[in-house]
Structure formats: structure tokens, C-alpha cells
């Protein structure tokens, strides 16, 4: 049953460009995919270790800028830029984690906000490197080529969709394997009872930093994909709204579950676009806010845990 469900989902997703004939919807799927990676990455920190990072857009932006700058200034191929984006973002995650994870709770939240704020200001003011608020237009599309052997272009939308789908699936797999291992158990232990975790030999700082690194690296991967997809990077990628969007996706979807961030990312990527369809611009954001309040209000633990409870209760009623 479980495998059948997974298989059907996989087939649906793989075949999406064939049954979703409209490129606009493929575009939405691509954005949903990028945000799925981001939400999964934030969920590692927020959902599993319980550390609320409100600076996550910084790693997304670092990934995007790394990819864009390497492609534009040094003519690196996109795949190399992607790898570099993952590494640089991971490294940034290590630095930030090492420094800020001495703190907990609200203080950690505020350090992460500040970090993202500083990075944003650097991206705006360091004209020589980032071209400041003018941004970096003309990022090349994602292409993998080995001279004379083969060439793989992700210039077309469906092709890019598969690329994003692949990376998102990989991110999901990384999360799943981590979470069900001793490392994941250490994350959860630190979230639920840090003193007890330490007393059975779990090195809190080490595992929290590890979570920060993996999480930042994944966000960097999403940033790189974003840069090669929109082909334009500007300081707006660091903005707080991106972090807020990720938090909404994780918490409303169901933090600390594997499916939660995926559901949240798809739901809250589709929602604004759906609102574009059904209402005029005056009401879109207002409705978005109200819907968000209602979601949290009626499903405070998130969509996925609520669904699980509901399914469990139904199963309990039936013999």
C-alpha cells in the first residue's frame, strides 16, 4: 500500500510535464520544487533540532550569488557553480552555527536575523563584487557538457523541472536518512531535552552545527537552482520575506515531519498563484495573511500532523 502510494506519486511527478501542458504551471512546479528544498532544509533545523533560524534566506542568497558570480565572472559551468554554491553555503552555515549555536531560543533567532541582515547589506553595498542593488543579470542557463562526449541542457522548462525534481528528491532522501539515523535521533533528543541528551553523551553543539551545515548547504543548492532558473540575481534574495515564506511552509506544513515541509512548500507556492487567479491584486496579500492565520489557528501543529491524527482516528473507528 505504502509502496503503491509512493509509486503513484513518483509516476505523477515524473510525468508532470506531459499532463501539466501549460508552461506556467510547470513554472509553478519548479518554484514549488525550489521552495521544497528550502523548506526541507529549514525543517532540519527548526523541526528536528528545534532551533528557529530566521536568517535562512542568507544561505539561499549565498548559494544564488555564488553560482551567479562564478558563472558570470569566471565562466564556470553551471554544475561546478552548483557544487560551489552548496559548499560555500555549507561553509557559511558552519561559521554561523559555530558562532551562534552557543545561544538558544530567542537569542539564537535574533542572531540569525542579524546575520541575514548584514549579508543583505553587504550584497547591496559591496558594488565591486555583487554589482549592488543592480543585481546580476544574464546568469546562463543550467547546462552540463563534456566536450565531444555529451551535452545536457536544462534550458527548457520541462528539463529544468526534472533537474529541480531530482535535487528535491535528493534533499528529501538526505533528510530521511539523517532523521532515521543516530544523527537524527541526536537532533530530536536535543530538541526535546537538551540536558538529558547531553547526559547520555550527545555533544549538543557538534550536532547542532552539523544540522546547520547540512541545512545551509541544501539552501545553497536551492539558491543555485534559483539563479540558473530566473537567470537574474539581486539582493532581494536575502530579504526577510523569503525566510518568512520558508517558515510558513515548514510550520504550516508540519515541522519535524518529513512530509510537512513538502506539503507546506507546494501549498504555499500554489496559494499566492491561486489567489492571482481568483481575486484581483488588492485582495491577494490580505487574503494570504488571513488564510495563514486560519491555517495556524485550526491546525496549530501543521497540516501533515493534523491529517495523520485524522487518519489514525478514522482507522481506530473502523474495525
Amino acid at each position: 500500500m505504502r509502496r503503491v502510494g509512493l509509486g503513484v506519486l513518483g509516476a505523477l511527478l515524473l510525468a508532470a510535464p506531459f499532463w501539466v501542458w501549460n508552461p506556467y504551471y510547470v513554472h509553478i512546479l519548479i518554484m514549488a520544487g525550489i521552495f521544497t528544498i528550502l523548506a526541507l532544509s529549514l525543517n532540519l533545523l527548526l523541526g528536528y533540532t528545534g532551533q528557529l533560524s530566521l536568517g535562512h534566506a542568507a544561505f539561499f542568497g549565498i548559494g544564488a550569488y555564488t553560482s551567479a558570480l562564478l558563472a558570470l565572472r569566471l565562466d564556470w559551468p553551471a554544475w561546478a557553480g552548483f557544487v560551489a554554491a552548496v559548499l560555500v553555503a555549507g561553509l557559511a552555515g558552519y561559521g554561523v552555527g559555530k558562532v551562534s549555536l552557543k545561544l538558544r531560543g530567542a537569542y539564537f533567532v535574533l542572531v540569525t536575523i542579524s546575520f541575514a541582515g548584514v549579508i543583505y547589506l553587504v550584497s547591496v553595498n559591496w558594488m565591486e563584487l555583487t554589482n549592488g542593488p543592480l543585481g546580476l543579470p544574464g546568469v546562463p542557463p543550467f547546462e552540463v557538457a563534456v566536450a565531444g562526449l555529451f551535452e545536457l541542457s536544462f534550458r527548457s522548462k520541462p528539463a529544468f523541472y526534472y533537474l529541480v525534481l531530482g535535487v528535491a528528491a535528493l534533499a528529501y532522501l538526505v533528510c530521511r536518512r539523517l532523521v532515521s539515523s543516530r544523527i537524527g535521533r541526536a537532533f530530536i533528543a536535543l530538541r526535546e531535552n537538551e540536558a538529558l541528551a547531553e547526559s547520555v553523551g550527545i555533544d549538543g553543539t557538534r550536532y547542532l552545527v552539523l544540522a546547520a551545515v547540512v541545512s545551509a548547504a541544501m539552501a545553497g543548492a536551492a539558491g543555485s537552482l534559483y539563479a540558473h532558473y530566473t537567470r537574474f540575481v539581486s539582493p532581494e534574495v536575502f530579504l526577510f520575506t523569503y525566510t518568512v515564506t520558508m517558515v510558513i511552509m515548514v510550520v504550516a506544513g508540519g515541522k519535524g515531519t518529513l512530509a510537512g515541509p513538502v506539503v507546506g512548500a507546494v501549498l504555499f507556492t500554489v496559494l499566492p498563484e491561486a489567489l492571482r487567479e481568483v481575486t484581483s491584486w488588492q485582495w491577494q496579500m490580505l487574503l494570504y495573511g488571513v488564510l495563514l492565520i486560519l491555517t495556524v489557528f485550526f491546525l496549530p501543529k501543521g497540516v501533515v500532523p493534523a491529517l495523520e491524527t485524522w487518519l489514525r482516528e478514522r482507522r481506530a473507528i473502523r474495525p
Binding site: V174, R177, L178, S181, R182, I183, R185, A186, I188, A189, E192, N193, A195, L196, A197, E198, S199, V200, G201, I202, D203, G204, L210
Partner: protein, 251 residues
């Protein structure tokens, strides 16, 4: 000689919680620390396990100083504790609570985990079996799927014990393991503690229940107002006039 505490002093806001306390815990035996509320028993535990920095003094384990080590490093050396207030991982299933306790026995590295190598899967399976074994030992096998927070109080205390045992202690520190339990549960815990010692684990416990302490201890240390006022075999301590006056409220 297992654990040795030398002239340990801890002050809270200028008030001495522990004033130059020295004592020893012998290997392979059950040692209890008793004393009225506020005597500094839990504070001593917190210092030994690295949760609290002492003002002065040092802690030696098998001859090596523990001072300055973090709690997880002390756990790595085989010293594991439980807490006075019930302390489990509430939203996690009982079995997973014990799996977390097994953390120090696992070896799988990040890369192996991400690639899900065969030995990682084998290790997982071995450890899951081990966790089941430990649960059965404390008598919680029937609860393995339930979230720990949903267990009744007495069972949560047993789970705490299971988590600590999973960390493979050579010295186990128990902070009031029987508090809040009914007489039947207390008897069961006494039996458990004895069996733990029989497996070669040194046990050091803080407890209020005199029947339990006197029933299982090889040695008793009495703490009063931050000082050791008596130590010795249960019988000796019970008849010590200083101890009697401390317990009768001679503050």
C-alpha cells in the same frame, strides 16, 4: 576506587550550597547520599556530571580529573546520570527514547548514513534489538510504541533508568529514582538497582526513602547544609547522633 570528590565548593549568589565537600564512591558497590532538602545533594550530582562548575575542588574518576569537562564528555567516560525531575524525550516513542540513549554505542559516520551502507543498517538492527532488551529489563517492553510523555509517572521513571542504562554506564548516578512511586514500584526499583550492580555497574544514588536507602546501600553519605556530616555502612550512619539531629530538624 571509582569516584573521588575533593573539597568541592559551590556558591549560589554568595550562599554556600556545598562547602568543601569530600567523599568517595567505591567501584562495584551501591553508595547512597542522603540529607534533608537543600543539603546540596543534587548540586553535587550536577558538579560531578559537568552541569555545574564548582567554585573550588575537583572530581576524579578512576584517577583522572573530570573538572572542566562538558556533560557529554563525562558521559563518554562512562558516568551517566538521571535527573530529579522526570526527564524523558516526551514526544518520542519509548523505544526511540532508549535508542537515543544508545547514542554512544553507534559508530556510523555522516557519509555512511547518507549512503545507507549495509553496516549502518546492520548497526541499526543490532541496536534496536539491544534497546528492546533494555526495555524488557526495566519492564517496559509492552509500551515501546507509545510516546514517552503519555506514560504514567512511575513508568516514566523506569524509562529514565532505561535511557541511562542504554548509555552503558560504568558509574550510574540516580537522582531520587523512586520519588513519587508507590510501594510496589519502589520494591521493583530496588530489585532493578541490585541487578544493575550485579552487572558490574557502580551505583551512586540520592534518595529520600530511608527504607530503600538502608535496604540496598553498601555505603551511605550524609550531607547537611552543604557539608558531609557522616559516612559509613547503613547501620553506622543510622545511629550517628549528628545525623539524627539533622533529620529531626536541628537546624
Amino acid at each position: 576506587m571509582s569516584l573521588r570528590v575533593e573539597e568541592m565548593a559551590v556558591h549560589f549568589g554568595g550562599v554556600a550550597a556545598l562547602a568543601d565537600v569530600s567523599f568517595e564512591v567505591e567501584a562495584g558497590r551501591i553508595t547512597s547520599m542522603i540529607g534533608p532538602n537543600g543539603a546540596g545533594k543534587t548540586t553535587a550530582f550536577n558538579v560531578i556530571t559537568g552541569f555545574l562548575r564548582p567554585l573550588r575542588g575537583r572530581v576524579l574518576y578512576e584517577g583522572d580529573p573530570l573538572t572542566g569537562l562538558k556533560p557529554f564528555q563525562i558521559a563518554e567516560r562512562g558516568i551517566v546520570r538521571t535527573f530529579q525531575k522526570t526527564n524523558v524525550f516526551p514526544q518520542t516513542a519509548v523505544l526511540d527514547n532508549v535508542m537515543i540513549g544508545l547514542h554512544l554505542r553507534e559508530r556510523a559516520g555522516l557519509a555512511a548514513i547518507l549512503l545507507r551502507r549495509r553496516r549502518v543498517r546492520e548497526e541499526e538492527a543490532t541496536l534496536a534489538a539491544l534497546a528492546e532488551e533494555i526495555l524488557a529489563f526495566v519492564g517496559l517492553a509492552h509500551r515501546r510504541r507509545e510516546p514517552a510523555g503519555a506514560l504514567p509517572f512511575g513508568e516514566q521513571r523506569l524509562l529514565e533508568l532505561a535511557i541511562a542504562l542504554a548509555a552503558r554506564p560504568r558509574l550510574l548516578l540516580l537522582d531520587e529514582p523512586a520519588s513519587g512511586m508507590n510501594p510496589a514500584e519502589k520494591t521493583a526499583v530496588m530489585g532493578l538497582i541490585r541487578r544493575i550492580r550485579e552487572q558490574g555497574v557502580t551505583v551512586f544514588l540520592v534518595e529520600h526513602d530511608m527504607r530503600l536507602v538502608m535496604g540496598i546501600s553498601d555505603r551511605v553519605i550524609v550531607l547537611h547544609l552543604g557539608r558531609v556530616i557522616a559516612q559509613g555502612a547503613p547501620g553506622e550512619v543510622q545511629s550517628d547522633p549528628q545525623v539524627i539531629s539533622a533529620y529531626l530538624g536541628g537546624r
